[in-house]
Symmetry: C2
Subunit: 227 residues, 2 copies
DNA sequence: GCAAAAGTGTTGTTCGTACACCCATGA
DNA sequence: TCATGGGTGTACGAACAACACTTTTGC
């Protein structure tokens, strides 16, 4: 293997999902330079020479949102010959999930502008980012059916109605309230916090918390979640 | 983005599965050069400058086995800083499935030696190939539960017992014969060929064929298979 | 007391699982 | 005729889907 073989560039791109009580959103940045200047794009960056792939994603997430320990999941690598006008750039696509309330735009971010967009209203993105986005959204749908990752999108304490709305939004279908609650309780990864909603003009809902330990235990014994 | 950013190399590696009536196998090559000279390794190659990722995999498969149109599936990209001693090499891992009877080692292959190994008896492989292999094997297990890809590993015409053995081997569990057949027939992607086994010293089994069209139709209407 | 969302149980149906015997062939 | 694997149906229990009314709060 000669030096001639080290001619490529590799980046990561990240489909960052958030959820704000009614709507599934994705965080996009507006590009400030060519190519695709002024287009909305997925946040991403070139991988640095001494940086593992996952670390590169963590860095981008941290720079952009200020958050560490964000849920993330490698989805697929895109590398078609013509996908980047400046040369052969491979990109490793991830999706990640964050609690939208925790997020604050980092003003020193490399992007000129970052904004949440409804996943149902995404226009034409830079590069092949529409394709990447579609793939990652599908992967979110597949994952959410089988792993209890929905919690990553909700605040620490949440009501069962909020959880149900989240699942209905992502999976684009409705659930029967009673059956949904039965199923969730059967899974057994929720803890009743003892708290309730306050100052709502109807019967206040109980607040629950996701129990990471119970989930780990279930995973250990080979449990498979299915909503 | 300056020229300085085009310093990396990208390869594909392929976990090629085959099945020979009792055993799930993987095709490994023996490396003829350093690093890891004389180690068994996953077949793979650097991606060429004008070659899409999938095309690169097809090329490697064709060179090695003579086969085109082999089932293949991108699994994950590995790119840890130290994974390759000669520089920063990312590798996109695929698994693929082929009918072991169709395979003939191409004598002009780039490998010094290629050989089927039982998946249960894999030694220490070159680079991080043990990790890649484990990831791909797990992905095969996940996929086979939910997509009828098992057929890719069997000859054109096969018996239900062969199919059951295949699933039992991959999933490492046993199925009740009657229940297995009920489920397979319910899926409805098998066609009775009208043929039977010949010259077996017991009641000859019917031969079935996988019906690609019926499968496509099911996929179109949003069907989800579950064995 | 009324509007608004929270919360809760039962029943019928479907699906999965467990289980044992006769059949067709070659030797 | 015997050895070998091929092929089939039923009954029970578990899981899932459908469905309506009472409760708690703010105004």
């Amino acid at each position: 293997m000669s030096q001639d073989n080290f001619n490529y560039s590799v980046s990561i791109d990240c489909v960052i999902f958030g959820y704000d009580t009614t709507d599934l959103k994705v965080l996009l940045i507006k590009r400030g330079e060519d190519p695709y200047c002024n287009y909305w794009a997925l946040p991403g960056d070139l991988i640095k020479p001494k940086e593992d792939i996952d670390d590169s994603v963590s860095r981008v997430l941290k720079d952009l949102t200020g958050l560490s320990e964000v849920y993330m999941n490698q989805v697929k690598t895109f590398g078609d010959v013509g996908r980047h006008p400046l040369g052969r750039v491979f990109t490793v696509a991830y999706f990640s999930l964050l609690k939208i309330g925790d997020y604050q735009l980092n003003p020193s971010s490399f992007a000129t502008e970052a904004e949440w967009h409804s996943v149902s209203r995404i226009g034409e993105l830079a590069f092949d980012h529409n394709k990447i986005f579609a793939t990652c959204k599908q992967e979110l749908v597949n994952s959410v059916k089988v792993k209890p990752i929905g919690f990553e999108l909700l605040p620490e304490e949440f009501t069962l109605t909020e959880l149900q709305n989240l699942y209905e939004t992502i999976l684009q279908k409705t659930f029967d309230t009673r059956n949904f609650r039965k199923k969730i309780h059967a899974v057994g990864v929720l803890t009743d916090t003892g708290n309730s909603q306050r100052s709502v003009s109807h019967r206040p809902a109980k607040l629950y918390r996701f129990d990471q330990e119970k989930y780990m235990e279930l995973k250990r014994v080979g449990y498979s979640f299915e909503i």
